[in-house]
């Protein structure tokens, strides 16, 4: 045994190493027992998740499904936009400078017109108010040059 081929011949002899007699039959029984135990041990969600993991990669959506989803999206968008415009028109009725108007039991309150609520914009339009003293606060004689 002096070269690579001899090593290979020696290695090939290892295929004669075999497990104890009856091992393969016992192995199958043990495998079946473990598989059953694993199935019983795993929860329903684990089984469902496992199945989905195998099914989803092969799942193919038909082409018309994309068209149907697109159509539904467009229809939903136009419906939302149309409803939004009506609401905007109602909210934008002329009501003076008041940003918000409301009419709570106007008949009961004896009011026939909506009452405007003051806003910060209205308050901000008032002119600044200064109070001037009739005499100067300093009572020293003024300098004379």
């Amino acid at each position: 045994m002096s070269d690579e081929s001899d090593i290979q011949k020696l290695l090939r002899l290892k295929r004669y190493e075999q497990p104890p007699e009856g091992y393969y039959e016992d192995f199958l029984r043990e495998f079946q027992r473990r598989q059953r135990a694993e199935v019983l041990k795993s929860s329903v969600w684990e089984i469902v998740w496992d199945r989905l993991g195998h099914i989803l990669p092969d799942f193919r959506v038909p082409a018309y499904a994309y068209a149907a989803i697109g159509f539904m999206a467009v229809a939903a968008s136009s419906f939302i936009l149309t409803t939004g415009e009506v609401n905007t028109q109602i909210a934008a009725r002329p009501s003076g400078d008041a940003a918000v108007t409301f009419d709570l039991n106007s008949k009961a309150a004896g009011l026939t017109q909506p009452v405007p609520i003051p806003t910060t914009r209205m308050v901000g339009t008032l002119p600044p108010h200064y109070v001037l003293q009739p005499r100067p606060a300093v009572k020293d004689e003024p300098y004379r040059f």
Binding site: M1, S2, E4, D6, I7, Q8, K9, L10, L11, R12, L13, K14, R15, Y16, E17, Q18, P19, P20, Y24, F27, L28, E30, F31, Q32, R34, Q35, E38, D50, H54, I55, P57
Partner: protein, 194 residues
């Protein structure tokens, strides 16, 4: 039980359809080969048994993901090699050999006759000694080199199939074999001189 002629793909289809007896047939068919692969990489019967259970359990769980791009044998070998390499790396040097018995048919093997005849006739070659030396030498190889040697030299798989199992090129397989053989020659040098 299925006849031996039933092709793998039929058994796979039936397994996918929920027939566990079809997978049992695949287990029976491939256990000896996968056992040889794992055993010669671990040199431990108990570890081999545990790993083999894991390999077939993994294959059973993943059978729906088997696309048929390679043969079932190659796919199963890939699972077994990856699991065993991971195991051997984790185990590191904490290894205990529990070797299987040598089949009596070895005495009729020409390679065995040649190997024993080429040693010094004054010294009786002991089968257990031969087995022990080989396993010690194999255990000194890296897991990747051990996998290649096991598949090529012991199991007789062609380079192309080994390359598929390992996901490498044939050139890499040949290179690993070359270095593994050189290492084994060095390890067995002492044994060869006696």
């Amino acid at each position: 039980m299925e006849s031996p002629e039933t092709p793998d793909d039929q058994l796979i289809t039936r397994t996918r359809a929920g027939d566990p007896s079809a997978f049992d047939e695949l287990v029976i068919r491939y256990t000896p080969r996968i056992y040889g692969l794992v055993y010669n990489m671990t040199s431990n019967h108990e570890d081999t048994n545990d790993l083999l259970q894991e390999v077939f359990a993994k294959a059973y769980r993943s059978i729906h993901g088997f696309k048929g791009n390679s043969s079932f044998s190659t796919w199963l070998h890939t699972i077994a090699v990856n699991r065993t390499i991971n195991f051997v790396k984790k185990r590191g040097r904490r290894q205990q050999m529990s070797l299987d018995d040598v089949d009596a048919n070895i005495e009729n093997d020409p390679d065995f006759i040649e190997a024993t005849a080429s040693t010094d006739p004054r010294r009786e070659t002991n089968l257990n000694e031969l087995q022990k030396r080989l396993n010690e030498a194999l255990q000194k190889l890296s897991p990747n080199h051990r996998a290649v040697v096991t598949m090529f030299d012991i199991q007789g798989m062609p380079h192309a199939e080994i390359a598929k199992v390992l996901g490498t090129s044939e050139g890499t397989v040949r290179s690993r074999l070359f270095y593994a053989h050189r290492e084994l020659q060095n390890y067995l040098e002492e044994f060869r001189r006696t």
